[in-house]
Subunit: 173 residues, 2 copies
């Protein structure tokens, strides 16, 4: 079972692919799609569409999880975020893949056990769980990986609970 997590943004969209291997969650790939902000908006949206399609084609996820940041600072930011998120959902739908959305609180709870966890705490846990050097990974990519882990935890509790709970104990130790 391979999950693609997406942290959508108009300037930078993070993606993270994880795989459930027995009861272990394994890091497959992650990265950031940077969209030049000087380009016209329609071009930027299409660049994001094409780049996400490449990620789908390269990693063949079984399911997709998208971070739903509805707590945008203001309406202008929300409009921009909505555009990027819409593209992510569209690409998943066109790939005929199941797609779920998770709020930041759900993602933080799934990864750290605490819905108001700091960004650094999420990063730390993602690194711990996936044996990944998060210092070498962008915030967008770790957020995307956290979203994918959240989906495993939420949608596949049978498989994922053991390793997630174990990891959470480490975090709180």
């Amino acid at each position: 079972m391979r999950i693609l997590g997406i942290d959508p943004g108009l300037n930078a969209t993070g993606y993270g692919v994880v795989e459930l291997d027995g009861s272990e969650v394994r890091h497959v790939a992650s990265g950031t799609i940077n969209i030049p902000s000087a380009r016209p908006l329609p071009t930027r949206l299409n660049l994001l569409f094409e780049a996400l399609r490449e990620v789908f084609d390269q990693y063949h996820p079984d399911e997709v999880a998208v971070e739903n940041t509805f707590l945008a600072k203001n309406v202008a930011v929300a409009l921009k975020l909505g555009q990027a998120k819409g593209i992510a959902l569209l690409v998943a739908e066109q790939g005929k893949l199941p797609v779920a959305e998770y709020t930041p609180t759900e993602i933080k709870t799934a990864v750290t056990g605490y819905g108001a966890a700091a960004k650094e705490q999420v990063q730390y846990m993602v690194g711990r769980l996936l044996r990944l050097d998060v210092e070498a990974t962008t915030h967008h990519a770790t957020d995307a990986l956290a979203t994918a882990i959240c989906h495993l935890h939420t949608a596949l509790p049978r498989h994922a609970t053991t390793s997630m709970a174990a990891t959470r104990r480490i975090a709180h130790a």
Copy 2:
């Protein structure tokens, strides 16, 4: 010169095609794309994508104008609007068509000469200018037609000024 105007919305997206014929603005087609709100969001976005593609394929516009309602009531509404607008811009970009965005104030000013005009006033002027029975047209479709007219007025002042100015005089008579 054929312009496709789009009034994007997640439940209902209006479209309107107008053509500049000499100094006359002519109504080619208009309508509303209704998206069943019970369907999952990714499906709705893809239904909108496919429906807009059909409109593009059917009417072959030369340029596209999209209403940019950044004055959404709140962040949740803005996120939804953003998703729909993102799809509209993406379809235009993938069709390699020039696309411009206009605020409601710009559209109202172009069509009625008054940026704070009431919805009914915009409808009336669209009907007048295009010799169209606006009673038989949805608000979304007339908004889309107004957006297309705004683009003609803004992007092609050489061609459009005469008839637009004449029509505006009628409105204020």
